[in-house]
């Protein structure tokens, strides 16, 4: 057991605002607690809510970087609370909700609403070549390497960090973001999807789509799942540019 003087005292500054209580102005509230070994921001927030302030709002489900619920801005950069160790941060930690999404309260945002709208807009699901449903038909064979490529892009958990990190998305609210472009790239790869590049161009061949991306690449650098967003957006841009 290390001496108590070695334990860091963390100061957690949280941007508090609840749209349901507009009479209370947005404010930064500071909490203090002792750092523990292997402590993540999720543990910090849980402890704060349990012992200090039950009114503190934030989202989590899986606690393992799989569900994408606990995305928030940590010292200016979007990231997942459950994947962020306090040991990697200074003693002063400022937390804010992910921008560009509808605020539910404090650190909780409605990424689901945004993602659903984006998914519907980009028709981000397999458009089967054969329209007739035949449950007895065997699924088409897919090359394992291609299946790996598709799976790699399917690892996106829709946490919203790429959108919150994107300067373009901050300025232009209709921009589909890296998450949307990644989805289109994913379905372009999928041999089960019957859509051509011309069909995909209808979805992202505009300034709200791939040609709106200014290649700032914060999406690529801050993606908690380390998806190859830089390569995928460039790949999609090349394919869509061929439609010119």
């Amino acid at each position: 057991m290390t001496a108590s003087t070695d334990v860091r005292r963390l100061r957690i500054h949280v941007l508090r605002y609840n749209p349901a209580e507009p009479e209370k102005a947005a404010r930064i509230q500071t909490y203090e607690l002792d750092e523990a070994e292997g402590m993540t921001l999720f543990i910090v927030l849980s402890e704060l809510r349990e012992k200090h302030d039950p009114s503190l709002q934030f989202d989590f489900v899986c606690r393992a970087g799989v569900c994408g619920s606990c995305g928030m801005v940590v010292n200016g950069q979007p990231g997942l609370a459950c994947r962020t160790l306090t040991a990697e941060l200074p003693a002063d930690i400022t937390l804010a909700p992910l921008p560009t999404f509808e605020l539910i309260g404090d650190l909780s945002v409605n990424t689901g609403k945004w993602m659903r709208e984006m998914t519907e807009r980009l028709e981000a699901w397999v458009h089967a070549k054969q329209q007739e449903v035949d449950l007895r038909r065997h699924e088409e064979h897919m090359d394992p390497d291609l299946a790996d490529e598709v799976y790699e892009l399917d690892r996106c958990i829709e946490c919203g960090c790429c959108v919150a990190a994107c300067g373009t998305a901050h300025m232009r609210t209709d921009f589909v973001g890296a998450v949307g472009l990644n989805k289109v790239a994913r379905f372009s790869l999928d041999p089960r999807d019957g859509r051509t590049d011309a069909d995909m161009y209808e979805l992202v061949g505009n300034d709200d789509g791939v040609f709106g991306c200014m290649s700032l690449l914060a999406c690529n650098d801050l993606c908690p799942k380390e998806l190859p967003l830089q390569s995928q957006i460039a790949y999609l841009r090349r394919r869509m540019a061929k439609q010119a």
């Binding site: 300025m171 209709d174 061949g205 505009n206 040609f211 700032l216 841009r237």
Partner: protein, 259 residues
């Protein structure tokens, strides 16, 4: 899709309308015009910096562009045509790049706040690309217009007289930093935007690209400053003979070089 122009037209006319191909064409045109301008600027820097080798070297390059070594006499009109083409490309690129500028103060403030909080290099570089691009609207236009209307006034003495005697060194000092920063960031962004030089490890390639970008930018700024200092020095020494044209000692018929 009713959230696109094509979609809205389709709704209004009740006929399917294909999405416009112009966004793709404009994106390509912005990239190609930027690439050509950046490559031109590299060449331009090498040509003007020939003054660091010798006045004869700079004179020779000037006369090469004026067609002297092909036609036996100088035709500054050839230089004017090249400048007009570059000017046209510059205007085209500026117009296309404007599409990406913040459209109002709200967008500008949102981006700046985001950039300051994130401290993300490529995001910050974009801000500087926009700022230097904005500066180039004025700095490059002033330079290009003067060159277009005085294509024969290029040479060791003529350029030095302009730089020092006409106070162009002030313009060129700002222009140097703006163009080298803008061009360097632009070329780097072109590479990552289109996935050029990605290789097997895009992250490592990007790190290398950034290093190369900063190295080239630093080299060109140092070269540009040294070149500017050389013209200032010649201009100061040549102040009393302003208007006189340089002719190398080995040239037998200097009058043939007069524009």
């Amino acid at each position: 899709m009713t959230n696109t122009l094509a979609g809205r037209l389709a709704v209004n006319a009740s006929v399917p309308v294909q999405a416009s191909r112009w966004p793709a064409r404009l994106d390509l045109a912005q990239s190609i015009s930027g690439l050509l301008l950046a490559l031109f600027m590299w060449g331009h820097m090498l040509f003007v910096s020939s003054i660091l080798i010798s006045q004869d070297a700079m004179w020779t390059i000037t006369k090469l562009f004026e067609g002297y070594f092909f036609f036996g006499r100088s035709y500054p009109g050839i230089v004017a045509v090249i400048i007009a083409l570059v000017f046209g490309l510059f205007i085209l690129h500026a117009g296309l790049a404007l599409r990406k500028f913040p459209a109002n103060y709200r967008q500008y403030a949102l981006f700046r706040h985001h950039m300051r909080g994130m401290k993300h290099e490529d995001t910050t570089l974009w801000y500087w690309q926009v700022m230097t691009g904005f500066a180039l609207f004025f700095l490059a236009t002033a330079h290009l217009w003067w060159m277009l209307t005085h294509p024969g006034n290029i040479g060791p003495f003529a350029s030095a007289d302009r730089v020092w005697g006409d106070n162009f060194w002030i313009l060129y000092l700002f222009l140097l930093f703006a163009v080298e920063l803008h061009g360097g960031i632009g070329l780097y962004r072109l590479a990552v935007k289109w996935g050029v030089f990605e290789g097997d490890d895009p992250a490592a390639s990007r790190r290398k690209l950034r290093t190369v970008k900063w190295t080239i930018t630093a080299f060109l700024i140092v070269l540009g400053l040294a070149t500017l200092a050389a013209y200032v020095k010649i201009g100061m020494a040549h102040e009393d003979q302003r208007g006189e044209r340089y002719t190398p000692a080995w040239v037998e018929h200097p009058e043939e070089h007069a524009p």
